[in-house]
């Protein structure tokens, strides 16, 4: 490499590193705002603002889903396996909503500590499998219990 090319290489490297540094610092300072949702523990620890619209994410607790007989009102609990948050939602749930499924709810915390959701999104995990395998795995888990 000639000295001229070397100099240009250094300039280019400093452009790339400099812009990465700037973006990195901006994102570091915005860290909490980039997170799409709060976990159940963060809400239980009072890290989430009360009264403004936030999202909470977690797993739907097994056996916690209760549907009203006369309306679309559903109540369920969300957990991150440490703390729980109770959620109430009126509306149509996504197809993937079920107990043990990860979901994200948008809404507000009310005074009683119950999360009033206005939108519920299902979070899909990175695991894919054919239905037959899922069934045999489930059967095995039942057998182990």
């Amino acid at each position: 490499m000639t000295p001229k090319r070397k100099k240009r290489l250094i300039i280019i490297l400093s452009i790339v590193l400099g812009s990465s540094l700037i973006v990195g610092l901006v994102m570091y300072s915005l860290n909490q705002n980039i997170n799409l949702f709060y976990s159940a523990s963060q809400i239980a620890n009072g890290e989430a603002p009360v009264g403004t619209r936030i999202r909470v994410g977690g797993m739907v607790v097994d056996g916690s889903v209760k549907r009203a007989s006369d309306s679309l009102r559903v109540s369920f609990a969300l957990t991150d396996y440490e703390k729980q948050v109770n959620v109430v939602f009126t509306g149509i749930l996504p197809d993937l909503f079920r107990e043990g499924q990860g979901i994200i709810a948008q809404g507000k915390m009310d005074e009683n500590g119950i999360f009033q959701a206005i939108e519920v999104l299902a979070k899909h995990d990175e695991n894919y499998m054919p239905p037959e395998i899922a069934e045999t795995m489930k059967a095995k888990q039942e057998a182990m219990k």
Binding site: R5, I12, L36, L93, A122, Y128, M129, A134
Partner: protein, 249 residues
């Protein structure tokens, strides 16, 4: 320190050599792309098993994942080609970078569109402003920005330089897309395929996906070479070899 680059590096710099060499490669890549894409799509869409939760809607993965991978690879190629063009003042590198931009923008749109179509039935929303989706949208804007910036210059050399600098600045977005699902809470799921662990998907699902990814890369190579060949002819219009080539047609 004087670092010598290998012979092929300097050969690639010659537009004429590139034109002749890519002409020989092209039929092979076209054949490979047709075979891989047809085998992969038939296998993936018809014979691969459905997912236990999503059913058949997961099959969009066979377009969405290759498109997303390619959108990022194409950007990295564009930025590296731009850097080579800036450092070695190599015309061919700028031709390559220019040929990447339009394809990258199109494939990023494919990635975003297929993601939205999948998101509606699976998540319950077409679009969510989470870190993965937003950084992917930024990638599309970067492509559009590079194309627009290049178009804003009369002089080809200044256009090459400006586009290369912008694509290098935007390079920081690539690791953000990749790690967005690990650094922050996102609605988008983390990667199914990682280098260190075995895939969270059985082989009868990921083999057609791998075929599709390879097919997309071959398709990309075909489009890239075609665009670059056209660009070489346009830029070298006044040279004797292009004149001779046109006369011989």
């Amino acid at each position: 320190m004087r670092l010598r680059m290998p012979q092929w590096f300097y050969q690639l710099a010659s537009p004429r050599w590139f034109y002749e060499f890519s002409g020989k490669l092209l039929p092979w890549f076209i054949a490979a792309a047709i075979i891989l894409l047809s085998v992969g799509s038939v296998w993936g869409l018809m014979f691969a098993p459905a997912d236990y939760q999503q059913g058949n809607s997961f099959r969009i993965i066979y377009v969405h994942v290759p498109a997303s991978i390619l959108a990022q690879s194409c950007y990295m190629l564009m930025a590296v080609a731009g850097a080579i063009g800036l450092i070695w003042k190599m015309k061919m590198a700028h031709v390559m970078a220019q040929s990447c931009a339009a394809f990258g923008a199109s494939i990023a749109i494919v990635s975003l569109a297929t993601g939205a179509i999948w998101g509606k039935p699976t998540w319950g929303a077409w679009w969510v402003w989470d870190a993965r989706l937003t950084s992917m949208l930024v990638l599309l804007f970067l492509y559009v920005g590079v194309i627009a910036l290049r178009g804003a210059f009369e002089n080809a050399q200044s256009a090459d330089k400006a586009a290369a600098v912008l694509s290098l600045v935007g390079l920081v977005n690539i690791p953000i897309i990749k790690y967005s699902v690990e650094w922050w809470n996102t609605l988008h799921q983390p990667a199914t395929f990682t280098v260190t662990e075995k895939p969270a998907m059985p082989p009868e699902m990921w083999i057609p996906l791998l075929i599709m990814v390879l097919g997309f890369y071959c398709f990309f190579s075909v489009i890239l070479m075609q665009r670059a060949r056209l660009e070489v002819l346009q830029r070298e219009m006044k040279t004797s070899w292009v004149q001779a080539l046109i006369k011989s047609l």
